[in-house]
């Protein structure tokens, strides 16, 4: 009997069931229309936040530029916000930022790229599966730990070798920042190189070239856009890096190229001033926003540059 009744149920064909269900679809239709709107709103949050930050930075920085002429700000070599006759030249900060970033990229560029070459072209699958996550662990270390490491471990070593180096100096945080961005370059460059199809490597090896020749003549040129983009993003990260330089480079606003001295970066200045008692409405307070705006412009330009480079030099295969 049961089998019979089942048969009765099955007598309703699948197409009929679908037709029935289609009539109940009003809720479905509502979802189809409303969910994309909801998703759009969520996606707009990041854009709105960026606009909000930019608005705050600009509106506050305007106050600053009403008191300090833009030209003086960007060409001033002296930053003495607390002196009797305050000077607000950003060049010492720009100098600190650029020098520390240059040291970092000089360390991370070669090491990161060589690591990427090893991982992508030489390491066996097994080795790569162990090494790559380990490398990425380095990227997960909080930057305050790096800062501490630079100040208490690296600086003493440098001073032992090179006694003229001051207790706070730009060299040590620059080096440590370099170590910090190695994983970024290694990982992104490795991604770019391993996405070069194997048949292109085989084409080169079958011509009687060595692995090294294939790597440098075919794989790296083919992956160049990704590699350059990884460098630019890493520089951008170094420019925005805060804790390491705040801890290990001190707060002297020196405008110098002497690596043994303490220098301040834009980020470290923001930490110093916002942590101190800058009275609201004072020029010192507003100078924060002017520096932050400059920093924002720098990292924005670097990120746009990375985008442009990866599109411009993309090799099709």
């Amino acid at each position: 009997m049961t089998s019979h009744s089942k048969k009765e149920n099955n007598a309703v064909s699948v197409s009929e069931m679908i037709a029935q269900n289609k009539q109940k679809k009003s809720f479905h239709n509502f979802n189809e229309k409303s969910i994309p709107v909801f998703l759009f709103l969520l996606a707009s949050i990041t854009i709105l936040t960026t606009i909000g930050i930019l608005y705050t930075l600009i509106s506050e920085a305007i106050h600053f530029f009403m008191e300090v002429p833009i030209l003086d700000f960007f060409t001033g070599t002296e930053l003495k916000p607390l002196s009797q006759d305050p000077q607000f030249g950003i060049l010492p900060l720009l100098n600190g930022t650029l020098i520390s970033s240059i040291i970092a990229i000089l360390v991370a560029g070669p090491i990161g790229l060589m690591s990427a070459i090893y991982l992508s072209e030489y390491a066996s699958d097994k080795v790569r599966r162990v090494l790559k996550p380990l490398l990425e662990v380095l990227a997960g270390i909080p930057t305050i730990v790096y800062g501490f490491f630079a100040f208490t471990f690296v600086t003493p070593i440098i001073r032992a070798i090179w006694p003229q180096v001051e207790a706070t100096n730009i060299l040590s945080p620059g080096l440590v920042m370099g170590v910090m961005i190695i994983p970024m370059i290694a990982s992104l460059s490795e991604d770019a190189m391993s996405s070069v199809p194997n048949r292109i490597r085989e084409g080169s090896l079958a011509m009687g070239t060595t692995r090294l020749e294939t790597t440098f003549k075919v794989v790296i040129p083919a992956a160049l856009s990704g590699i350059i983009a990884s460098f630019v993003l890493a520089i951008s990260r170094a420019i925005g890096e805060t804790m390491i330089v705040t801890i290990a480079s001190g707060s002297s606003k020196n405008f110098t190229f002497d690596l043994t001295q303490s220098m301040q970066t834009m980020t470290a200045y923001i930490v110093e001033v916002s942590g101190g008692e800058a009275p609201a409405g004072s020029t010192l307070h507003y100078s924060l926003y002017a520096v932050a705006l400059t920093l924002f412009a720098f990292t924005l330009i670097m990120n746009l540059l990375a985008k442009y480079v990866s599109r411009k030099f993309r090799e099709e295969y």
């Binding site: 066996s124 199809p197 085989e202 080169s204 011509m207 009687g208 070239t209 040129p221």
Partner: protein
């Protein structure tokens, strides 16, 4: 000689003349690849089983057989590209010009300079057409622009693609059609003037017209080069090759003149395969 009347002597003389002809043929076409007792394993799987083949110079040798029969593996052993697969091991010997290329003292770079390869999917480098062609010569130390220019024209003409690309030598090779890309790859091979060209299903990714062009090209190329081609297209093997190897499950089932293999196969399995009973 014909004045001699005694049968026996006549026959003797004829035989000796045949021998002479045969000898001169052997002289013209010496063995370039002599494979003896070749076995190959991918880890534990026995991919090639006791292969014995003599491949002659300036001939087109086609290797046919169903998927997984080991034909691609075999051709990749001839320039040791098979070593790129982890866990490969071999035994036996392959003599290339009387040197065992499986010997570890042989430099694969030298071998691969003399033995070019064209792959299943066109794989030009993501560079200009010009850069693709001069890649090999440059790596091997030829730097002078005038010589490189000459090589480019000669190689592209040799691959029957010069007229199509001569005005766009400095454009990216990936802007070309699949068939043109494959001929660029052949030209890239010719640029280092190899002796042998290995082709691993070179037309399987191409349309019929491009395939035809490449087949015509192969007929031209065999005048100067030894060509070994793997194909799953039996008509193609019949059209272009002098000798055909039929492989099955990692073994050579039959190796003979192409005409004979297709018209009068000596092995039942060959007959079954070429008449389409399996594969």
């Amino acid at each position: 000689m014909s004045t001699l009347t005694e049968k026996g002597i006549k026959i003797d003389l004829q035989t000796s003349q045949d021998d002479k002809e045969a000898l001169s043929q052997i002289k013209e076409k010496s063995v370039i690849y002599d494979t003896k007792n070749l076995d190959l394993w991918y880890g534990n799987s026995h991919a090639l089983k006791n292969i014995n083949l003599e491949i002659l110079e300036n001939e087109v040798t086609a290797i046919i057989g169903p998927s997984g029969c080991g034909k691609s593996t075999y051709i990749k052993t001839l320039n040791r590209m098979v070593e790129l697969v982890p866990g490969v091991s071999t035994s036996g010997s392959i003599s290339y010009k009387n040197k065992n290329i499986l010997d570890k003292s042989i430099k694969v770079e030298d071998l691969r300079t003399q033995v070019g390869m064209v792959f299943q999917k066109p794989n030009p480098f993501p560079k200009s057409i010009y850069e693709n062609i001069v890649y090999g010569p440059r790596i091997h130390g030829i730097k002078k622009k005038a010589i490189l220019d000459e090589i480019v024209e000669k190689s592209l003409r040799g691959a029957a693609i010069w007229d199509e690309v001569k005005d766009r030598l400095h454009q990216n090779a990936y802007g070309l059609s699949g068939g043109q890309q494959q001929r660029i790859c052949i030209a890239r091979c010719l640029a280092v003037e190899p002796d042998v060209i290995l082709m691993d299903e070179p037309t399987s990714a191409l349309d019929p017209i491009s395939t035809l062009k490449i087949e015509e090209l192969m007929k031209e190329l065999k005048k100067q080069y030894t060509i070994i081609i793997v194909t799953h297209n039996m008509q193609q093997a019949a059209r272009i090759s002098d000798k055909t190897v039929f492989m099955l499950n990692g073994e050579v089932v039959e190796f003979s003149e192409t005409d004979q293999l297709f018209s009068n196969p000596s092995d039942k399995r060959t007959e079954d395969y070429i008449t389409g009973r399996f594969g």
